[in-house]
Assembly symmetry: D2
Homo-oligomer: 435 residues x 4
């Protein structure tokens, strides 16, 4: 069995020990030769690398951990590249959360105006990762969980030649919860949607879909840590014919969520900032040789499990079903074949093949997916071209934005405050300065 080289882009993240633990647990089926930890923050990277070395040693594994701030060095010869970058760091996230609020818009790192700005910052950096891989690791797989994961996948899969998959922990978390609820690990869950706009539309047990009977009860699944879990009305479950993921709190109750954001003492980014500092301190303790429990508060349940299982399916040709973000092919019937969706896939050596939903989508689902995908396509175009008009056009289609005055106000201020991270918009900035 071949030993693998795994590059982690953004290894300074506090999530990294999750990943390391995942590979330790899969040590037999996924023997590693090296980790390549790449981060632009050398100090954090050193700290995480040191902790990773202790974890690996503790597990009795002989795996080198390379530290670097050079993308090409990290990627060269890698078999898998796992990306979890946050461009601009938490301070950029906090700006994404706060600026939109001034204009009456929800600020959040993946949906609405904040997620949009995050995409504008993240996509160009991920294109660089892909470009390095095209040259130095053309056969490697790129597994991305940098947010907004779905939009990043839309960009990578349509604008690079790299083999890549977009990953999110929401579907697996919802599936695990369904399996727990039905006390049956064989429960086979259907999902339809886009990343952070996904519904669980089926729970198959013994050949029967038992979900429809459940929809009367209004049960909520998969309350992520990042968004408060409020429970959806049974009516909302029925109009979608399924269980919405927790991010639908933003789409179904925008007014309430806006007020929540406005009245919160701290944004989620600010909270995370505190948590991260604690975790980083904790990681520096030489005595710590395993993933600490505190990490779970951070909100990435099952991320490592999902990521390493996916690598296992690819590497060992498992031909197993995973829910990932890939081009839809013709599987939805109402989006373009090139549109990236979050869907069940058969995953093996040759990649991820999308499966059609086994239950026909309701008009509600079709319409929301069409609207959000129109927004996502334009967002990718804006991120790649730096066109102000395309950016405005994208925001106008986002159902959490809509209003021209709000869109323009938030966009102009966000662009300006992110100038350092938006080289593709430099032409726009220069034109504005000349006015």
């Amino acid at each position: 069995m071949k030993s693998l080289n795994v590059a982690v882009i953004g290894s300074g993240s506090t999530y990294t020990p999750e990943l390391v633990e995942g590979f330790i647990l899969h040590g037999k089926s996924l023997p590693l030769k090296s980790f390549r930890f790449m981060d632009i923050d050398a100090k954090k990277n050193a700290s995480l690398a040191a902790f990773a070395r202790r974890m690996l040693k503790h597990a009795g594994l002989d795996v080198s951990v390379l530290e670097t701030d050079n993308l090409e060095e990290a990627v060269n010869g890698a078999d898998y590249v796992l990306a979890q970058i946050r461009v601009g760091g938490l301070s950029a996230r906090i700006r994404d959360e706060k600026i939109p609020l001034k204009y009456g818009l929800i600020g959040q790192e993946t949906v609405g105006a904040g997620g949009f700005m995050n995409a504008l910052r993240t996509i160009p950096e991920m294109m660089k990762v892909a470009s390095a891989m095209e040259r130095f690791a053309p056969e490697a797989w790129l597994v991305n969980f940098s947010n907004p994961s779905g939009i990043v996948a839309e960009a990578l899969q349509n604008h690079t030649n790299v083999k890549s998959l977009g990953l999110c922990n929401i579907p697996i978390t919802m599936a695990k919860e369904a399996q727990r609820l039905f006390e049956n690990e064989a429960a086979d869950c259907d999902f339809i949607g886009l990343n952070h706009l996904v519904w669980m539309t089926g729970v198959f047990l013994g050949g029967k879909n038992v979900l429809p009977d459940m929809l009367e009860g209004g049960l909520t699944f998969g309350g992520m840590k990042n968004v408060p879990d409020m429970g959806f009305e049974p009516e909302l479950l029925r109009l979608a014919g399924g269980v919405p993921c927790s991010y639908f709190n933003y789409y179904y109750y925008p007014e309430r969520m806006l007020h929540k954001c406005l009245s919160a003492e701290r944004t989620r980014g600010e909270e995370v900032s505190l948590l991260e500092q604690e975790l980083l301190n904790r990681y520096q303790s030489p005595a710590l040789e395993e993933k600490p429990e505190e990490l779970e508060k951070r909100g990435g349940a099952y991320y490592s499990y999902a990521a390493v299982s996916l690598v296992d399916a690819l590497e060992n040709d498992r031909r197993a079903v995973h829910v990932v973000n890939v081009k839809s092919g013709g599987t939805t019937g109402f989006l373009r074949p090139s549109d990236v969706v979050e869907t069940r896939c058969l995953v093996g050596k040759n990649g991820a093949e999308p499966l059609s939903a086994r239950t026909p989508p309701t008009p509600h689902v079709v319409s929301m997916m069409q609207t959000l995908k129109s927004y996502e396509r334009l967002t990718v175009e804006a991120a790649l071209t730096g066109s102000y008009e395309t950016a405005l056009s994208a925001l106008m289609l986002n159902p959490l934005v809509g209003d021209y005055h709000k869109a323009k106000g938030a966009l102009d201020e966000m662009l300006l405050s992110n100038r350092a991270f938006l080289p593709q918009f430099e032409g726009y900035f220069l034109r504005e300065e000349k006015r």
Copy 2:
């Protein structure tokens, strides 16, 4: 040349003299045998019929004017049926305008939550008109301008066997304004969209589309009387690649429009109520033998012209281009062939054949049309079935509504206050009472 029988459903409307004048002006190409004036308000009907008789006599035309409150009598033997009904009268319209405001939603008779309720009241009555025609005038054409005209057309063309066309005065008003602006009556204007969601996407002069050059200037066309004309930013024109109709004030500036509605002394319905009273008084003057100028304030510019020209094209096989609401066939490429759109058509004896847009729609146009058409399809289904869930599902897709709490609040109160006009929802009301 055959003399025609023309039924006017809702003839008690103050617009009726417009129609009568239109037929007087087309006397040569469209000789009439009779008008059949049908209205449930016998008093108004008598007044309008008397005025029509004076107008016809003044014009030297020998046309009988039948008054009736019986649909079958009006329709039997008719060659054309023109419908301009307002179910529940102006008081229902005023409720449509006021109730949504309580929940933070725009109230308006054709768009948003108010237009939705109007559709629920109007569609069942128009189905009765169609049903009477199927039995008593199966060869006749139904031309409808009852609002919301596009949604009514969606219902009539997909759920009856009657030959029908949906009409609105917005496209012709915008085209006239373009022709005036370019000082060229041959200017040939392209339109794409749905009723009250339509863009003028081309102005062809001598084989060239001169609109793109104009889009920089941000000119506004066709400021209807019903909505204040504020002018759209050039950016908004460019993202649609065309000039939006005035109703886009609601879609592009919802916050501003909401505040306008909230701060207005009177709703448009209340204003119209005053105007109507004046007009009705005026019509009763025995000396009045022609359409009074005051009628123009009412806001239906070119309605009569559009309607009578359309009848002329049908009757005399003109094979001329009119913008009407018909099934799209495959002409858009992104809606279903059965979806009704507002589009240029070749109109002759055999009906109206939709033409494809000559300029490809921008992503903005595609997405907005898809979203609104999803809403319209569900609205028609709710209006026909009386399903509360479908009604809620429709409102949730309307971009002027969205929020679950607002949608539900407004829907519940509007349904209750419209119970007399919603027989299809009686099952729902009874279930609610039993709770």
Copy 3:
């Protein structure tokens, strides 16, 4: 583990011992309670049942074998229904082979005019099987390999509520040959097409498609016994971007195949008739307790393997990939979602989910599939309605027929000579008699 009841419809077939052997080999994962052998030929059925009992006893399995000529009795309580009927027996097949030849058309039991007549006879009988299952075994799976298997699947999956899959041994035979050729059992083969119109368009080894390099060589795969294997020119492989199945001899070399048929001493049906007689004699020997080697000459390599593996995947939720005939969903992009195709599927407890081809189809493949599917749809309609015009319309679209005079000549004579098996055409026969 649940013991299964398996009904075999058409159990008098000489192939039956294959099936019995298959279940014996899968005894552990698929424990049987009973076989229900249903055939209208009681004598053959008795002979096959007796042989099956000897085989089961020899294998040490306690499985009852019920003999019946009653469909409901066979189906009632069955978990799986396997159908392998031949309506009209071999004498009907021989007529299918001979009549078309008189009109210059290829006679064959699955393609061309002969296969068409076979469909007209077989579909109504399979509808009866489905109808019995709807009443007496609504949860059971129907696995059909009665020919023409693809057209029968098109009928069953679009016109009954039974859970069914269409099976053919061609894809598995081609895959086995590819695995043998590459000396690698993990070779993962892509297929695209319809039944008996299928191409192997990929052979994935270690994540790479190695087929394109092979296409230069013009290798032939899966030479079935039923059609002579002549080898295809490399040009033909390249225009399809894959290896055609052996039935393409008819589509690519119709003239040569027609001459072969015309000059053959015996039709394939006549040969099979002799083989079957030998086999039936052999089966009667009380000493015979295992499938005799002679059976392999008959031409159904891997049928039993394919069928029983498929039952295993369904029953034991294997979530394994099988190539079967199912509705395409949106997976092809150029056929209707309801069109049945022969494609890779993920098969488990909940049925078979179609996978998209991993290599885009060439224009040649698209066009041939569209043409043949148009033919198949009309064939199903003709088989269900008994419409002469639809039958003629179907034949005119078959690329092996085309010519009106040939189509009409062959159709008229075939219908007449099959009258006993075509109750749905009785109206047509009566009208013809009255002329």
Copy 4:
């Protein structure tokens, strides 16, 4: 009113006097400044130009007639370019007719293997015309009737930037015949199909489609001179839901047509050759000042009428309905928007806008159009790229070819004998020589 410059490419054709007469008859609405006669055969060109001058003078029109063998000179400053070229002349046509017969294939100049070879010769030359227009007359319209007109239109409209329309006299001839039959010039005929694969699927009189009632009678319309008119069986009319054009003799009775070709004393090309010689002699008579009656035998009924009416509709913004070859847009629903079809169009200053068929196409029509369009797309690709494999692939999809051995035999010999006219295949020829 602007005076026009009209270029005629291939003016040495004996059809040219038809065109000249057409412009003479439209003298008032289409005043000409000049004709530019371009032909590579200077002698024929001189003769036709001289005759044209006599015709124009006789009509009292002051129009110059320029003779040239230079494409750029002809096109420079032209308002309309009419193309009627025959690459390789009649001797190439006669080869197209004769070579396929050796291989058991129909030889004809527009359908089957012969039409295919004609396309390979004609498309590159028409690309040169378009290229000259792009540089020297970018605003001019190109109206092409060079055969195979539909395939040439497919190439021009998808691979050049020139404004062009493909024209054929079949639809207008069929419509005229229908109008004659119904004794009503207002009969409004529907057509669906591709060039030389077109059906008349509706005849609307007073708002009713009267064709369905007629289909029982099996009437034939529009028997072109080029193909013998044999009358189609009512069954064939019903399966298409319309009247096939005369070229369907090839598709419906290929065997009979093949025998007709094989047993004919002369091919149509050889007959035309004799006719042309007579006509050319006739044209040289200085006394001849009008189009001679003999020209009608040649077979181009209504060509001039169709062409000049079309120019009139374009130039004078008639917004009239013409049947021409244009991109389908979404109008068929089953072809690609970029596929060129022969369809009713609204024609005015801005070009030709396709109209949807008013009667839904039968499965027969859909399938035949899909098959032939697949063939046409590949033919255009082969003509543009000179790929031997694409050429073979195209021929294999042509329903009049199919068989590999016939296709290859005919293709190889035709290519070789047309080498002088196929510069794009020179690479292929060189590779073959080296073998």
